[in-house]
Symmetry: C2
Subunit: 346 residues, 2 copies
DNA sequence: GCCTTTGCTGACAACGTTGTCCAGCCCTAG
DNA sequence: CTAGGGCTGGACAACGTTGTCAGCAAAGGC
């Protein structure tokens, strides 16, 4: 492939075509600073002059270059959001909530999905920092956030959401994962289940570990043994989950209930369970759309992703407004929603 | 030289104390431009010097200020995405696809939801322009996009997706809405339905209008009269849709099938239909998760939001790379997925 | 009538980076 | 020994904006 010659002829689209305040000033016959004043609605300009400047702006199609403004002012009025997967309904609700709060504070939002890849998380977060976002909201994928230390020291606020930062003291807004699972598993035990499966996400993910802990503790507290073949942690790809559920339903002593560690697991598990000859109970972590319309309707431990996002973003902006104090850790509780699938007799 | 001890948390973060290339240069004992060269991996620096500069960067926690870079270079390596509602699964899949393409081209992504409000769309798009994004992907909410004319003239590329621009010649990537509805309605007619309802979004939304057109044309082509009480266009708030569906199922000659104009309508309509004494057929525009697990499973005309997003973003980057030529209009076709709910006898 | 105040305006530097250009330096060839 | 060339490194301007400060009228006070 041949590089287009730069020095000579064929130039890419011309950006010099953009009028600047200088151009506006020239056309309006005023000084540069006066244009700046008009554009920013600063006082101290005669109505007549304002009028002239505004016509010039209109005529030239001028729009202030916020990059230059940012450079001069220091604050960028933008925040970055790093999450796992924007296409996951859980995170898209969370994003939307963050976006809304940012908008209320006059900020724009950069978004990026880490795809659960630590390197990608870091790459995104640092790229946002290089753009000098005022703050970051992060759903962490990595195990070590020390790379953010210099950024935070330089004044970029960071709030972690859904999962805490690791190796770094930082604000975090979380759901009480273990507590939520405890509610769900207790519910299953009350229905008479004793052989309860737990299918979760990869162990290294904080929420997955916490949920597993909730499961083990609840079982132990109830005096129920846990056969290790009932526990499966790993990627939530449909094939794996499907295979695991299927496996657990075989043999002489199959599980009679499944606790699904997140919304993706619930959905995949469901697809297997509907084809079973005898009913198997299911309780899932995370609510999802239409859970109530399935038959049986799916009992879940619901998180409130919008509330997580909103709370995190609000905390971020409080920090940006100067709130000091040690890193906070807010924990929202989950809520058991009984719909039928968890009430199948054990 | 003794490093100031950072690790022990003794040092209070000094805000605004961000090191610049100048600081790095001073510390490394080299010139400013040499630091720039190292940071950008430009050739012509001795390995020894590179090493010195890199240690200084590390020690100071320097990160290049991309705002300044942007100002100097003209291109920002960022694009803006304006859509209707990030929390809607349709748009979140679309976003994710756009994000992925942007990433492949080394660009960051600004996102914003218009909430179907024309003013908000404009506000967002222009704010992105002020940040000098290289390009925009827009799901329009407004009826008049002339406000983008100066921006486009100044070199910002714009691609519309899902709905075309209005009052403006611009690239657009759409689904063949009328064609998709035609398939769905034809399917219902083949099942023997004569009284088919159409419930859609607000008329001013292009896709809603196109889908309605598809419905009317198909009915007309089949020689079936359309009673205006079977058609309802308006906001897709659950209450309204619920009321309309309920209304259409009453009276001496209730509809026997419902065509739902988008995924939100489908879901709401479903909630009403499951409670009906006699089965009512349903076909919806847009696929949605779990549609296949409901009973009956829901027959839909599926769009491919990820493909829409990907196609639009790819077109955008081709434009940014200099592809000229008149505005393109790409139309992807919808796909009827037969699952059961549309096969209820009429 | 002169001096002060007030209100409006513009010149200029600075933000942090990159592009241009030139000055050294070392090496080799004549 | 000198001229020329290749490398390396640095001084300086420029990107478009905003903050500072000074200039300059008109208005007001004595």
């Amino acid at each position: 492939m041949v590089e287009p010659e730069r020095a000579s002829g064929a130039a890419p689209p011309r950006y010099g075509a953009r009028p600047t305040m200088k151009d506006v000033a020239a056309r309006a016959g005023v000084g540069l600073k006066t244009v700046s004043r008009v554009v920013n609605g600063e006082p101290g300009v005669t109505p007549d002059t304002v009028q002239r400047v505004q016509s010039a702006i209109e005529a030239l199609g001028f729009r202030r270059n916020d990059s230059a403004r940012v450079l001069r002012k220091g604050r960028t009025a933008s925040v970055g959001l790093v999450l796992e997967d924007l296409a996951d309904p859980f995170y898209s609700s969370l994003s939307r909530a963050v976006e809304e709060v940012a908008r209320d504070h006059g900020s724009l939002l950069f978004t990026g999905s880490s795809a659960e890849d630590p390197e990608r998380e870091q790459e995104l977060a640092l790229a946002f920092c290089a753009r000098r976002v005022d703050g970051l909201v992060i759903v962490p994928a990595s195990q070590d956030h020390r790379y953010l230390q210099p950024e935070i020291a330089a004044g970029i606020a960071a709030v972690f959401v859904d999962r805490p930062a690791e190796q770094l003291e930082a604000d975090a807004v979380l759901t009480d994962n273990a507590g939520g699972v405890r509610e769900g598993v207790t519910h299953l035990i009350r229905q008479g289940h004793r052989r309860i499966a737990f299918i979760g996400d990869q162990r290294r993910i904080h929420t997955a570990g916490e949920r597993l802990r909730g499961y083990r503790e609840t079982m132990a507290d109830a005096g129920l043994p846990v056969d290790e073949s009932w526990v499966s942690m790993g990627p939530t790809a449909a094939e794996r989950v499907q295979a695991e559920v299927t496996r657990m339903l075989q043999g002489p002593e199959p599980v009679t209930a499944v606790f699904a560690g997140n919304n993706r697991v619930s959905v995949t598990a469901l697809r297997v369970l509907v084809n079973q000859p005898r009913p198997v109970a299911l309780v899932g972590f995370d609510d999802f759309e239409l859970a109530d319309l399935l038959s049986p309707a799916v009992t879940v431990v619901a998180q409130d992703p919008a509330r997580l996002g909103r709370t995190a973003a609000q905390l971020l902006f409080r920090r940006l407004e100067g709130e000091t104090g040690p890193p906070q850790r807010l924990e929202l509780s989950g809520r058991l929603i009984v719909r039928g699938s968890g009430e199948v007799a054990g």
